[in-house]
């Protein structure tokens, strides 16, 4: 397997792809990397990237990547979240999670992003359930 970083400011980075994994068989996977600088027991799902302009965050907008690699830097651990199942889980539970776990606002220069801190176990269970189709 080879892993190539996407270094240019091209379509891939704007679409949220940091890394391209190529398997020996030729199949490729694209990965967006997100890093948490504290070991919180949850995953911050970005609901709005710009709350005032109602720009959807990465959990509810179309993403070009196959996986989100969500790393907890101090612990040196990472969860690899499959994007279609993650977004399906969000569609099924997002509103409820926002009510249950609250929202975290990050004030940046000119915009405020809003995320929902979902406990890791709850999210992983929801992702598994999102893979069942009946």
């Amino acid at each position: 397997m080879s892993a190539v970083a996407i270094e240019q400011d091209g379509w891939a980075q704007r679409a949220g792809i940091d890394r391209l994994l190529t398997l020996a068989c030729g199949r490729t996977f694209t990965v967006d990397e997100k890093i948490r600088t504290e070991d919180w027991p949850d995953v911050l799902l970005e609901r709005w990237s710009d709350e005032a302009r109602r720009k959807p965050g990465w959990v509810q907008k179309p993403l070009a990547c196959d996986f989100v690699a969500y790393a907890y830097a101090p612990a040196g651990t990472c969860v690899l979240l499959p994007v279609p199942a993650l977004q399906r889980a969000w569609r099924q539970h997002g509103r409820q999670w926002a009510g249950l776990y609250g929202q975290r606002r990050a004030v940046n220069a000119g915009y405020t992003s809003v995320s929902v801190p979902v406990p890791r176990g709850v999210l992983m269970q929801a992702i598994v359930e999102a893979m069942f189709v009946s």
Binding site: E7, D9, D18
Partner: protein, 183 residues
């Protein structure tokens, strides 16, 4: 353009962007990768906020806190350079973040880094500001600097290319290009 020259330019752009994105900050007079002392590959010509004389004085707690904040800002500035270069050299964000402990060891282990290097300057500041907790402070600063570089990565690469092409840009040119990068 030589690839390693571009890597040095991106390294210097990482320093510059860390400073420009966190006002108030001392003026950057120039960024160069040519015409320097042979011991230097690149240079962001600016003033450090924390100065070694601060380590020699007994001051009130509030002054000490203010100086610690300056030492921290300097630390982010110094770490953003090597982080930008690592990322340019195709290390993933996660690999860079997970490398914090290893780099902390490089910074605080033996042999000590040269005092005039990025890590040498970080060592001096964190030894003073966080005695006994230098490595933990280093990791925290490393994560913060990585996030700054990631947030402004497009600007870092753009400025790095400009620095590599021109060899040297002055502070006014840097300000113009920084503003363009943020449009």
């Amino acid at each position: 353009m030589h690839n390693s020259q571009l890597a040095v330019a991106v390294h210097e752009a990482g320093h510059a962007v860390a400073q420009l994105s966190n006002p108030p900050h001392p003026q950057i007079r120039s960024v160069s990768i040519v015409g320097l002392d042979p011991a230097l590959l690149g240079l962001v010509d600016t003033d450090a906020m924390w100065q070694p004389y601060m380590a020699t004085l007994e001051v009130e707690q509030s002054t000490g806190e203010a100086w610690r904040a300056l030492a921290w800002k300097d630390t982010i500035f110094y770490l953003a350079g090597p982080i930008a270069e690592l990322r340019w050299r195709r290390h993933s964000r996660i690999a860079i973040a997970f490398g914090a402990k290893q780099f902390a060891e490089e910074c605080f282990g033996t042999p000590a880094p040269e005092g005039s290097t990025d890590f040498g300057r970080v060592r001096a500041r964190l030894n003073w500001a966080y005695p006994g907790e230098q490595r933990e402070a280093f990791s925290k600063a490393w994560f913060e600097a990585e996030a700054v570089v990631a947030r402004h990565w497009r600007a870092v690469v753009r400025l790095g290319r400009i620095i590599a092409e021109r060899g040297r840009i002055n502070g006014d040119e840097l300000s113009v290009e920084w503003e363009r990068s943020n449009r």
